[in-house]
Each structure stands twice: as structure tokens, then as C-alpha cells.
Amino acid sequence: MSTAATIDRAVPPPAGPRAFIARLRHGDEVAHVLTLIFAAVILLLTSLLVFELWINSQLSRAKFGWMFFWTKVWDPIFGNFGALPFIYGTLVTSVVSLVIAVPLGLAAAIFLAELAPRKLSDSIAFLIDLLAAVPSVIYGLLGIFVVVPIMRTTIGPFVKRTLGFLPIFQGPNYGVGFLTAGIVLAIMVVPFIISVSREVLLTVPREQREAALALGATRWESTWQVVVPWARTGIFGSIFLALARALGETMAVTMVIGNDPKISASLFAPGYTIAAVIANEFTEATGNLYLSALIELGLVLFLMTFILNGLARILIVATERGGGHP
């Protein structure tokens, strides 16, 4: 019986739909088609997601067009909706979080990949993975009750005393606002930067380090001038991944940003992000246009993270396939 099956298989299978149906009689083809259908469901769900976002934002897209992105007004009562304050808030909080998280994460990744003994490095990486698993609403909870008060009494006044001459650090400090949201986001994305950068740094060939050390470089010089440049594409990939996370993060930001659709130069001012406005106003959106505008914001958020994730993946794969070094 098995020989017959093998001989069957050795003959090249005839093409065409009828032959395909004939082959279905073997269990293998049934299993193949069955798993294929489930895999196709993923494709279907994702296309459906894009489709639903597109269709349900139809009203808003038709009414506001490209002006949606340049209008500062968000007025549910008169039905005027502009995305600019939310796009601004999303970008500002994400940039603030990266300014904090990138140096911190890169330094920690360098320590774990270059200095720490393998065992210590693995256990710290393990703990950092756990940190990445903490639900975002928990970060929000700590944000409201811990970070906001500290911001109001300690960090805020300190920053004002030292850097208060900069326009971004002027104006009243309420505790909630862009800076607070950026700090909470930084804590949330730093584990991603560390674990991806560490992996990428570990793929840098040992000879690179040895050559630099043999030329008389110090440990830091070999790391900073040889290892990090070698891995830089992958490190940029990790930063893009972190940025994509920060853009889409909802709960923690909603709880500490102050939820005020204004564009302010000061980082102490309260603001709003795309994800936060969807979270806050979706259930109370009265009228189809209001809902449609919120869904269009969702579409914008989707496209932003889609592009960033794609770029991140390309960069990380490029580095791991043998060095992003020119």
C-alpha cells in the first residue's frame, strides 16, 4: 500500500482543477487545503480590517478631505473635526519618549551584549521581557498615582529651574501633559529597544571587536566605533518598532496626558493623542459624522504604525542577514 502511494507521488501530478479534486481524495490534500483555509482567514481578517476602517470613515473623508489633517478644530457640537491636535500630540509624546528611551535602552543593551557575563545578561533580559508583559493599564495606574504627583512636585520644578529658558519648558505645570505621557511611554517602550538591540549586537562577529582591541582601542571605543556602527541598521529597526508601539499606545497615555485637544509648544501643557481621543470619545460619539471622524483617526493611526513596522522589519532582517555595514 505504501509502495503504491510512493509510486503515485513519483509521477508528476497532472495539472488542472479536475486533477486537484482527484488528489483531494488523499488525506494529505485535505489537510493541506484545511490549513490553507485557516491561513487565508488571517489574510481575510486583515483585509477586512482595512476595508472596515475605510468604509466606516467614508462620511468624514468625503466631508473634510485632506483638510482633516490641517484643521485644528475638534468641535463635536457643530460637527467640525480636524485631526491636527491629535496628530501633533501623538508625534510629540512619541518623540519625547524616544528621546528618553533610546539612550537608556541602547546603553542597557550595550551593557547586556558587550559587558555582562552571559548568565547575568540572560537573566536581566528575562526580567526585561517580563517588564514588556506588564499590561498598559497598569502603567496608566502608576502614571496617575505616582508619576503625575512626582512630575508636579519634583521633576517639573527641577526641569523649569535648569532648562526653563527653553520655550518647550515654559508655562504652568499641571503634572499631566506631553512630558508626563512621554515619560510613561518611555518606560513602556524601553524593553523593546533593549531586547531587539541586544539580539542585534550579539550577532556582530567577534573578530570585529578583537580587531579593534588589537589596534589599541579601549573597550568603549571598540564598542562605540566598531560594534554599534556595525549593528546600527538593526538598532534603528528596534527604534522604529518602539516608535510604532508608542504611537499606538492608548491606555497609559489617555490616563496621564490631560486630554485637551490643543497644540501647545510647552511640554508641560496638557494635550491629546489619536489613540486617547478614540478611547475617550468613541462610546459617546453622537451622530454618524462624529463616529466617522473617530474611525478616520483610527485609519490614520493604522497607516502610521503599518509603515513604521514595515520599515523596522526590513532593517532588522537586513542586519541579521550579515551586517548592515556598507
Partner: protein, 284 residues
């Protein structure tokens, strides 16, 4: 001049290397700060009522979150029911059957789906389930979480199936088993430990999701029998209670936070320990 430069380079070396160590320990200490804070604040306010009582009406102190605990379990059950089979089968397809182009497309789509912000998944489930029937339901929340379970399950299933040595497949085929029999009776059982752990990890991840539930499962201050009513869940309760102006609600938010974090961390810890003993994967 030269010795000064050498001195400077050596000091820079020392300073920068120390700073990297400080950064690593600072990040790790955040984990312990979070844990410590929740255990301190949550432990103080955790009591038996929390697990057995319904929320009290606004303004009254006391009460618990029994309905939210059951609600979270119901939502996870729905998510598992929907997400795990799709994830498992698609993972089998990618590891065992997939052709080149279509596999690439599926893998790419899976990564894309994994990167979609959870609030957008919420909008998706809303337009799919809530809009047609015009009311929030446990079912809608389950769909939202189920969609989020799929990509993680696919990737971990594929990874563990690929870790099964080819010699086992060849052995089974050599004994005359067809391909699907080989997969069902040899390959899948061999990888089952890893696959199940990967599934648990994906459920642990969605267990803490709040954003996709806000306008799908919504919330409820009472029991919600069946699947077609709005249902409370721990993450949404934490959010609602934390932003409310009542001290007693803050107290309960901490207690709920402790329970949620405890569950998520224990699940993660257990799964990751099992996985590292399996030694198959660092990234699942």
C-alpha cells in the same frame, strides 16, 4: 600630551561603561518598583469582598469586582475559542505545507496584524459585531481579543513545529504514514509542549488589554449572563476606577491591578521557564 590623551581615553572608557551598567539596572529596577508599588497599595486594599461581591452603587464604599473577574474569564474563553484554532492551523500551514509566495504573504500579514494598535482592533470588532446589532456585547469583546491572539499563536506554533527534527518526520513517513498522519501523530505531539505554552503566553498578553474592550465589551456593574450583554472586565474596571474621583474606587483599582499583574506575570514566568527548559526559543 600623549599620556594626557591616554588618560582621557581610559577615563571615558570607565565612565561610559559604568553608565551602560547603570542604565541596565535602572530599567530592571523599574520592574521591581512597579511590583513593589502594586503589592504595597494593592495588598492593603485587597479583601475577600473583592472576589465575591458586585460593585456597590456610586457613592457607597465597599463592594468588589466578582463580575469583572468572571467577565475577564469569559472574554478570554471567547478569545481562545476564536483565536487559537486559527492560529494553530495557520501555524501548521506555514511550517508544514506552505509554498513560497503565499507563505511569505501570510507571514507578512501576520506581522502586520501583530503590529496593529489594540485600539484599532477595537474599532474593527466594533464595526464587525457592535454596529450590526447596535449594542455592546461580550461577543464583540471576545472577537477583539481573539483577533489579537491569532498572530502570536501563529508565530510560536510555526517556530516550535520547525524545531521538531526532520528525522522524526522522515521516520514516520518511512513507516508508511501519510503526511497528515505524520503531522497529526508525530510532529504535533512532539511540539505540543511549546505550542501550548505559546498559546498561554498569547492569552496572558490579551488578558491585560483594555483599549479594544472599551467599546466592544464595554462594562457592566452587574452580572451579565450569556454572551450578548455588555460585560465587565478587570482591565476596564481598573481604568474606570483609576480615573474616577473616589478614594474607595482608587483603592479597588490598586487591588484589581495587583490581581491582574499577578496573573499576567505568573503566566509569563511559568511559560518562559518552561520554554527556556525546552531551549527552543528565546523570542516566542
Amino acid at each position: 600630551m600623549n599620556s594626557f590623551r591616554l588618560h582621557w581615553r581610559k577615563s571615558l572608557n570607565l565612565v561610559m561603561l559604568t553608565l551602560t551598567g547603570v542604565a541596565a539596572f535602572a530599567v530592571v529596577s523599574v520592574l521591581f518598583l512597579i511590583l513593589g508599588y502594586l503589592v504595597y497599595n494593592g495588598g492593603k486594599s485587597l479583601n475577600w469582598d473583592f472576589f465575591t461581591k458586585l460593585p456597590k452603587p456610586v457613592g457607597e464604599t465597599g463592594g468588589g469586582m466578582a463580575n469583572a473577574i468572571i467577565g475577564s474569564l469569559k472574554l478570554l474563553f471567547l478569545a481562545a475559542l476564536m483565536g487559537l484554532p486559527i492560529g494553530l492551523m495557520a501555524g501548521v500551514y506555514l511550517a508544514e505545507f506552505g509554498g513560497k509566495t503565499f507563505s511569505f504573504i501570510i507571514r507578512y500579514t501576520t506581522d502586520l496584524l501583530n503590529g496593529v494598535p489594540s485600539i484599532v482592533i477595537g474599532i474593527f470588532a466594533y464595526s464587525l459585531v457592535v454596529l450590526p446589532v447596535k449594542h455592546f456585547s461580550a461577543l464583540a469583546g471576545g472577537v477583539a481579543l481573539g483577533v489579537m491572539v491569532i498572530p502570536i499563536t501563529v508565530r510560536s506554533t510555526e517556530e516550535f513545529l520547525r524545531a521538531v527534527p526532520g528525522s522524526m518526520r522522515e521516520g514516520a513517513m518511512a513507516l508508511g504514514a501519510s503526511k497528515w498522519r505524520t503531522i497529526a501523530t508525530v510532529v504535533l505531539p512532539a511540539a505540543s509542549g511549546g505550542i501550548v505554552t505559546g498559546m498561554l503566553l498569547s492569552l496572558a498578553r490579551v488578558a491585560g488589554e483594555t483599549a479594544p474592550l472599551l467599546f466592544t465589551a464595554f462594562s457592566n456593574r452587574y452580572w451579565s449572563p450569556g454572551w450578548e450583554q455588555p460585560v465587565a472586565s478587570l482591565p476596564v474596571m481598573i481604568y474606570t476606577y483609576a480615573i474616577a474621583p473616589y478614594d474607595d474606587w482608587h483603592r479597588q483599582a490598586w487591588a484589581a491591578g495587583l490581581i491582574l499583574l499577578g496573573l499576567v506575570l505568573v503566566a509569563n514566568l511559568g511559560c518562559r521557564l518552561v520554554l527556556s527548559r525546552w531551549g527552543a526559543s528565546r523570542s516566542a
